[in-house]
Subunit: 457 residues, 2 copies
């Protein structure tokens, strides 16, 4: 029997034959990511149902020197969750147990394969919520969100996943289990694995269970959409919202050209009679709606360059306003294979970034379509570029080069994955990168876990 | 010239002769920690003034195989900041630059040697505050607070230091600089050093600069002290405060026997005409004092077993109520060398812990005096035991054994240091500990940084 045959037999013995997928058609959905820009063939897809099964799966792969790609909901955007070619995909989706909810403490333990939307459904009736919410909520798993330190629309209030994780359990490349679940809120007993593993993109461990802190759902929510004469005007208003509005929980921006493009593809009325150059969407949680509407209104009235404004407090009205922002990535994805660049700028560099990045992109790809939108409250903009071929990195190079010049981050929330690994050397010092590699080698000496992610081979 | 002589000359060349302290009298304050339970002689104390000087100091030590103990304000409680014998103390206190304050974002970059109180003084006039506050605020440094993931009285609201650190810069044992300051709020570009180094107790790096997020100071504060008929009654009220009071920022407990002992040592009136078994101190920030007083009053009125209650909203009155709680560690420290055990219990084990821990201590040290107090809102109690000799670990063993049985943490906020390292093997699995050691070896192969801390040699 071949070594591969032996490995597959061992895996089948651990998880049962139906949970070792080798058929090409059945493998297909595990082999291409959300962007469709990254794909690769898996040796097999293995679906363990518990930490113990994950340990056995990882040990079997380790024994045979088989490389592994941990995968949750496979909604990543940087190629980190799909095979490069020949790896065993370790899918966490069957580890989807949820709860029970600790209603006093506002905490819950979930399997890493639990889907965000299912966890939301489990905790929201009791007035709690998961601190991070994403468009991919119907597919993305908690484990994947932890592995990539997912951000999303409410980072301005609750922080990214790193701030939601109280503890976790993970399986290292050799099969050792690290971490502790349930965790304790205060626990200073040496290195904490949830801090090390959050954001490590599957390169150090397969995460199996996660202990989450929850956040209180606000009793009411107020959403405002404001059109402004310029992006600097939008930033000034964003700053005013930040200062003045207690309970601010989202602060998003998009632009006239992006909205035009969105409106060419889906049926969406103009938000205001007058066209605006930039749009700001703000949302705040409040105990009492009227007061929050008054506060938001006063801030908008005091702002410069306001072209139009709308406020909603009911679910349907709020969804209508959010639609303008959320349609951007949808339309970008349905119009081709966008280059999705996800960057943070220092606040002082933000005002000039949109014009400058359009100039730099036009210089290397004159016919490219640029969609800019994102979490302006965190200094985080998504630069989606349509037109250039998926394997053409000139646009990525132009955008990330500008970001490095301006002192920004080349990955605000999507992670490094395959897409940005070659860029890391321009963002981090050689000493810093070498120390990262030392940690990787210490925990995965043979480089079996998610090879090629973060680190250029 | 001896190798030590060569090393000292090299260090003098880097930081200037006055900043290499070899005289025994001048060294003395660096050689014994806050508890007076841990002390050791240093080869020398070196005081670099910058990251570049720290790199040169660490490189010189590395070259000569000299072990190093990073030290901030030396207010640690587990022996982690003083020499075991023969190390070079690398004092960060000269790296005490502060600011400028970023008033829009609520962030500041400080040197690791900046003293907490000085940072508080720099940011409070603008309405900001550091998220962690400690009794040692006049001496403890931000770098030390990060290295030990300090907690304190407001963790229930703002979390420990891990949640305040946006980024940092540190020097590894070989002289490599890792991390990035200033940091960006959203930055998913591989392993993040501030997450790895926070709480690593000087075993992985000398931290040189820290980028802090700040928190908003509440406009007003309300403090309540409530005496209760039993500790379970106090816990029930703590739960009610947690649920009902928005902006709750402290929830502390102490006991009748502790208060008696405190009153034997310092002049402090009985808080209420009737004696209580347990006391709960709650504090909340509020935009408007009257409403907060009403809310707190309503919660107390609905509680079971209330023996007496006092509320204060002015600084002097609030300080008077806090005095009861803050006098506990003061009196413990001035009455001998207490065994300071600092534990977290799962919430369901908390009600029976005080009686049980007193029983276990009495069994091994019948004449010991037990002071119990702490951050009950986090499940974190400080067990101070007076009587047994500093080197007698029977009491530590009894207390920590009970905590492990109950599923708690053997160090809630003080860290492992020397004091609890032998206990780690009963708290973490062998696989987990070995993986921690692998990280340590990867970043400090010769074991030069804070040897003997966290890991038993």
């Amino acid at each position: 029997m071949t070594e591969t045959g032996q490995l597959l037999d061992q895996l089948r013995a651990v998880v049962g034959p139906p949970n070792v997928i080798v058929d090409a058609d059945e493998r297909a959905s595990y082999e291409v990511d959300w962007t469709r820009r990254f794909r690769g063939e898996a040796l097999a897809v293995v679906r363990p149902a518990s930490t113990a099964e994950t340990v056995a799966v990882v040990r079997a792969c380790h024994e045979h020197g088989a490389r592994m790609v941990p995968q949750g909901g496979n909604t990543g955007l940087v190629g980190g969750s799909v095979p490069r070619g020949g790896e065993v995909v370790v899918s966490t989706r069957r580890m989807d147990e949820i709860g029970p909810l600790d209603d006093d403490a506002g905490e819950i333990v979930v399997g890493s394969g639990a889907v965000l939307e299912a966890v939301q459904a489990a905790v929201r009736p009791a007035g709690w919520d998961v601190g991070v919410d994403l468009g991919a909520r119907g597919s993305c798993t908690i484990g994947g969100m932890v592995a990539t330190n997912a951000g999303g629309e409410h980072v301005v209030r609750d922080g990214p996943m790193a701030e939601q994780v109280l503890g976790l359990e993970g399986v290292l490349a050799g099969g050792a289990v690290v971490g502790r679940v349930p965790a304790l809120r205060k626990d200073n007993t040496g290195y904490r694995w949830h801090r090390i593993l959050t954001g490590s993109e599957g390169t150090l461990a397969v995460i199996t269970r996660v202990h989450l802190r929850l956040v209180r759902r606000p009793k009411a929510q107020v959403t405002a959409l404001v059109g402004l004469a310029s992006f600097p005007d939008a930033l000034a208003l964003a700053g005013a919202f930040h200062r003045d509005i207690e309970g601010l929980d989202a602060l998003e921006a998009f632009f006239a050209d992006g909205l035009d493009f969105v409106q060419q593809h889906i049926d969406l009325a103009d938000p205001f009679p007058q066209p605006a150059a930039a749009y700001l969407l703000a949302e705040a949680g409040a105990a009492e709606t009227d007061e929050a509407v008054r506060e938001m209104g006063a801030t908008v009235e005091a702002a410069r360059g306001v072209v139009g404004a709308a406020v909603a407090t009911d679910a349907a009205g709020r969804a209508r306003l959010w639609r303008y922002r959320e349609a951007h990535p949808e339309v970008a994805n349905s119009s081709g294979i966008p280059h999705k660049l996800d960057v943070t700028l220092p606040f002082d560099a933000l005002p000039r970034f949109p014009d400058e990045v359009r100039r730099r992109i036009a210089a290397v790809a004159p016919d490219a379509r640029v969609l800019l939108f994102g979490h302006v409250g965190d200094g985080n903009l998504h630069v989606n570029v349509l037109g250039p071929a998926p394997e053409d990195y000139a646009v990525d190079d132009a955008v990330l080069g500008l970001v490095v010049e301006l002192g920004g981050s080349i990955s605000a929330e999507h992670g490094v994955g395959i897409a940005k690994r070659d860029w890391l050397a321009r963002y981090r010092t050689a000493d810093d990168l070498e120390a990262m590699r030392a940690v990787k080698r210490a925990l995965d000496p043979q480089g079996l876990l998610n090879p090629g992610v973060i680190f250029t081979p």
